[in-house]
């Protein structure tokens, strides 16, 4: 014990140091995100815009109207996706759990489409509420169907029910889109998943949900550690398994719902990041959660920056770039034998 304790403490100190290092990287990539784009703005100009705003300067207005909201939304949506993935994987003890796999995106899309076509809604700020509602409904239906039966929500059942639900909802969306070209014109840009064109109002709208979700998610760490021991052990340690699952799932839905609401459906960030975090920290959710929360914005903002410069003069939306990076990672994960042991 005497020998173990200092080693364990040193490991904890290393992890804390790593977390601080990641925070620095997040700050750096946020600054990079402020400078890179169709119009490159040097760092000192960014600083000047932030500290002494001059309404007559085009660069200053770009920073305040475009780059700053985009960067902040990228940071928050990234953190939300990373956390929701980690919490969902812990709560379901399922390494494949992710918001896109579980039909949340398709649910959000159905509600947004109905809003556009039935009520003629074209404002992003109302899409936010619709997407939020749709995500919640879809998630609970998928989880509910998959957890019926003796074994509960096994990885394969969840993945298949989610994929099937996604396919079913998608064909309903297609039906509406076919009959209404104007709806299609709106939706095709929302559906791809993007950080562009969101202003501060969108951020303000989802901010309370994002913050509440982040706090709730971080608070579930102890419950997730308990669940990861197995239901029986968790129960014998005095934990209420059903309540823990419900609280964690709620946190995941709030986070994924508001992330999808703010940026559209972005695939695979929530799936891949927790696995990277777990590889660094080991199985302790008190470290996995904060690591996921910092690693995901790095991936998301990084992908967004890549998308801005890869195809000038246009942009590739962040949802495309994350799918291009995330799906191969997912396949590599599936090919690893120890996949199901979480």
């Amino acid at each position: 014990m005497e020998a173990v304790r200092p080693t364990a403490m040193r490991f904890q100190a290393t992890l804390a140091l790593g977390l601080a290092g990641l925070a620095v990287v997040v700050a750096a990539i946020a600054l990079l995100s402020m400078t890179v784009g169709a119009r490159a703005i040097p760092l000192d100009m960014v600083w000047a815009a932030l500290t002494a705003f001059d309404p007559n300067s085009t660069d200053h207005r770009i920073i305040w109207d475009l780059r700053l909201p985009r960067t902040l939304i990228g940071l928050l949506v990234g953190a939300a996706l990373g956390l929701s993935g980690a919490v969902l994987q812990g709560a379901t003890r399922n390494p494949l759990a992710d918001t896109s796999i579980l039909g949340i995106h398709a649910g959000a899309a159905v509600f947004v489409v109905m809003g556009i076509s039935l009520f003629g809604i074209t404002r992003l700020s109302i899409y936010v509420w619709l997407a939020f509602l749709g995500a919640g409904v879809a998630m609970f239906v998928v989880y509910g169907i998959a957890s019926m039966g003796r074994e509960g929500a096994t990885p394969v059942k969840l993945a298949l029910v989610g994929a099937a639900m996604t396919a079913a909802l998608t064909s309903i969306v297609s039906a509406v889109l076919l009959m209404s070209p104007t709806t299609f014109d709106q939706l095709r840009f929302w559906q791809v998943g993007s950080l562009a064109g969101r202003d501060m109002a969108v951020l303000v709208q989802v901010l309370p949900f994002l913050l509440a979700g982040i706090v709730l998610a971080l608070a579930t760490a102890r419950m997730l550690d308990g669940l990861s021991l197995g239901e029986d052990v968790a129960r014998s340690l005095g934990q209420n398994v059903a309540v823990s699952r419900a609280v964690a799932s709620l946190a995941a839905v709030i986070l994924a719902g508001s992330a999808t609401a703010a940026a559209g459906p972005i695939a695979f960030v929530g799936l891949t990041v927790p696995h990277v975090a777990r590889a660094i920290t080991g199985p302790n959710y008190r470290w996995i959660l904060p690591y996921s929360m910092l690693l995901a914005p790095i991936l998301l903002l990084g992908a967004d920056i890549i998308g801005r410069i890869v195809a000038p003069p246009g942009e590739v939306q962040v949802g495309i770039v994350t799918a291009a990076i995330g799906a191969p990672f997912f396949i590599a994960l599936v090919r690893r034998r120890k996949l199901a042991t979480l």
Binding site: G149, L160, A163, A168, S171, A323, F330
Partner: protein, 350 residues
């Protein structure tokens, strides 16, 4: 004496199962015939049943009645034929995948093959500006390539159903991203046309769609019948199949190739019509209730679903013709949820 009694008991069960199989098959054939008759009869332009029959026989009798012949032979007959052929192909493809991967959800429209065909077709339309037959060829190639990629990526000293399904889902996501990206890049008009193809439709059925599919089925259906015999052994699991002297991987590969080809040719002819491949197998199995078989019945169910959905699509709304994929999609969604819920309740959902 007891063994004799037992033996006669077993053979009695066998006979009753065979009788059930026959009953189900006859029932499905009757339903298909009724659907064909309805499909030829229903339409905006009323044609009397005897005129329809005379028109169908006109190539033999030489009797000519221009107006009726055009409606029956050039409009309704191609559409009905294409519905049957695509239904059979989708039904067989889904049934093979579901049996081979031992999972009722593992149909080509869930595990990425339809997505591959769709992405290829959308690339043809929106990037290269190809229309018509070229799109079908692209879809065919896309389905084949995607299936090969899924199989190769799921290979790790053999393939397991689990890996195939999950790799397929990942591939489906990549293909979905490609499609969404191209949609944002295209002009609305062109993107809308591509979307119409993606939903799947029989609205412009003609010989150019029918002939390649019919030709493919002439080869594929016998191949399916031949390979399906070994499938019953594979169902027991790889180890048992090997012990019984089956060369597992080559058989699996051949079956996958045939199932992919079914889906690919049907998709090329009518677009990736949602859920037909998915629902045909489970409906057939539910009707058979453990009486064995299932492939012939799945093919029949596929054809009936396709024909029935297309009739709803044509006549549900008075002024517009819906694409058939919308009807199969909505019908499929309801069936899917009911099916998953009941399967999971019985503890055999996966």
């Amino acid at each position: 004496m007891t063994t004799l009694a037992e033996a006669s008991g077993i053979s009695a069960i066998r006979q009753s199962l065979a009788a059930r199989r026959r009953r189900v098959t006859i029932l499905l054939l009757a339903a298909l015939l009724a659907a064909i008759a309805a499909s030829l009869y229903l339409g905006d332009y009323p044609v009397a049943p005897d005129a329809i029959v005379r028109s169908l026989l006109s190539p033999l009798t030489g009797e000519i009645n221009r107006g009726v012949d055009f409606i029956v032979l050039n409009v309704r007959l191609p559409r009905t034929t294409l519905a049957i052929l695509t239904g059979v192909a989708f039904g067989l493809s889904g049934a093979i995948f579901q049996t081979l991967l031992r999972n009722p959800l593992a149909s080509p429209d869930i595990i990425g093959i339809s997505h591959g065909a769709s992405a290829a077709a959308v690339i043809c339309m929106l990037v290269f500006g190809i229309t018509g037959l070229g799109v079908s060829m692209g879809a065919l190639a896309g389905a084949m390539l995607t299936a090969f990629a899924i199989y190769a990526l799921a290979w790790r000293g053999g393939v397991t159903p689990y890996r195939v399904v999950l790799v397929g889902i990942a591939i489906a996501a990549i293909m979905g991203a490609v499609i969404s990206y191209l949609f944002t890049r295209a002009r609305l008009q062109e993107a809308q046309e591509a979307l119409a193809w993606l939903v799947g439709s029989l609205n412009a059925a003609n010989l150019n769609d029918i002939l390649p599919l019919a030709g493919a089925l002439v080869v594929l259906v016998p191949a399916t019948v031949y390979l399906v015999r070994s499938l019953d052994v594979l169902q027991l699991g790889d180890d048992a199949a090997i012990a019984l002297g089956n060369r597992v991987e080559p058989t699996k590969l051949a079956l996958i190739v045939v199932a992919v080809a079914h889906a690919a040719f049907a998709t090329a002819a009518a677009g990736p019509v949602a859920f037909v491949a998915f629902v045909a197998g489970p409906i057939a199995r539910a009707l058979l209730a453990g009486a064995g078989g299932g492939f012939l019945q799945s093919a029949l169910v596929g054809a009936i679903v396709m024909l029935g959905s297309d009739m709803v699509a044509q006549h549900a709304l008075p002024a517009t013709q819906l694409p058939v994929g919308v009807v199969t999609g909505i019908f499929g969604a309801g069936f899917l949820l009911w099916f998953l819920a009941s399967a999971n309740r019985q503890g055999r959902g996966g």
